[in-house]
């Protein structure tokens, strides 16, 4: 199975994303922001970074990249898409996911290992987790506070679309401790934490809790 990894100018975690996919047995296909070409991939990973320097707003400029004009309809048609950190911000700016990510309540960039609870284990990217399972992933961002209007929040909660919640302490002041959400169909998932930094014992965060994301998508694609 082939999973695209998108590189925008200023993308940083594309190498980690590709490695995590490879370790899970998928082929990582580099996708370039300026191409109108998804290269026929079976799923897409939008990794973190500071695309376009986070100028204007995080993800605001990337949203208009040629590649995104291909990705948005494909995602609406059911293509599995995972966005982490800046990728999550881009998915929100592109309205593939509701709400927005704004400056951390503490006003500082935060890099730490964070406890996270999986609240929805039915999406394309979380099926290998158990609902209620607690995992540890790194967070590293300055603008990760999830906000949405009351109506949207109520909808997300009632439809079980809050996929991840910060457990223990909330690193950025997100509403309802939201760390990640999904769209109605469950194929598009965005989260601030970084599963791609938690897939090897030797490097990155302590533990390998990030592997579940990649094994989930691989088993979904194999069984598709």
């Amino acid at each position: 199975m082939r999973v695209g990894v998108v590189t925008f100018p200023g993308t940083l975690d594309d190498q980690d994303a590709a490695r995590a996919l490879r370790l899970a047995g998928a082929e990582a296909v580099p996708l370039w922001h300026a191409d109108h070409d998804l290269k026929g991939v079976d799923a897409v990973f939008l990794p973190g970074g500071f695309s376009y320097g986070d100028y204007l707003r995080c993800g605001a400029i990337s949203r208009f990249a040629p590649l995104m004009t291909e990705l948005v309809p494909a995602a609406h048609a059911g293509l599995p898409v995972l966005g982490t950190c800046n990728g999550f911000q881009i998915l929100c700016e592109a309205h593939l996911l509701p709400g927005a990510l704004v400056r951390n309540a503490g006003l500082h960039y935060v890099c730490r290992d964070q406890r996270i609870r999986v609240d929805n284990a039915t999406t394309a990217w979380t099926s290998d987790f158990a609902e209620g399972q607690e995992i540890t992933l790194p967070v590293k961002h300055g603008e990760g506070r999830y906000v949405a209007d009351a109506e949207t929040l109520a909808l997300l909660e009632s439809e079980n679309r809050v996929v991840f919640r910060y457990s223990g302490s909330n690193p950025n002041g997100s509403l309802n401790d939201i760390a990640g959400i999904t769209n109605e169909a469950g194929n598009v998932v965005g989260l601030m934490p970084h599963p791609e930094h938690a897939v090897e014992e030797l490097t990155g965060a302590p533990g390998v809790d990030g592997r579940g994301f990649f094994s989930s998508i691989v088993s979904k694609l194999v069984n598709a």
């Binding site: 707003r57 704004v102 503490g106 006003l107």
Partner: protein, 81 residues
Amino acid sequence: MARVIVDVVLKPEILDPQGQAIARALPRLGFSGVSDVRQGKRFEVELEGPADDAAIAEVRKMAETLLANTVIEDFVVRVEG
């Protein structure tokens, strides 16, 4: 040539920690009587032609599309001068 200003500010219901930090700092610096501060962005858009209704409408569209994220931000468009 004309200059059109777009001011973008977080919606009132969205927490603005930067504005709050500024509001907390002001009394420490001896400024009193401030009840709240909201921080925003100001864009100066230089037009090649005059700022007529059509041009203003175009700038408004720019603001909606790119300059502001209307999920969390409000904006105001005005002609300078």
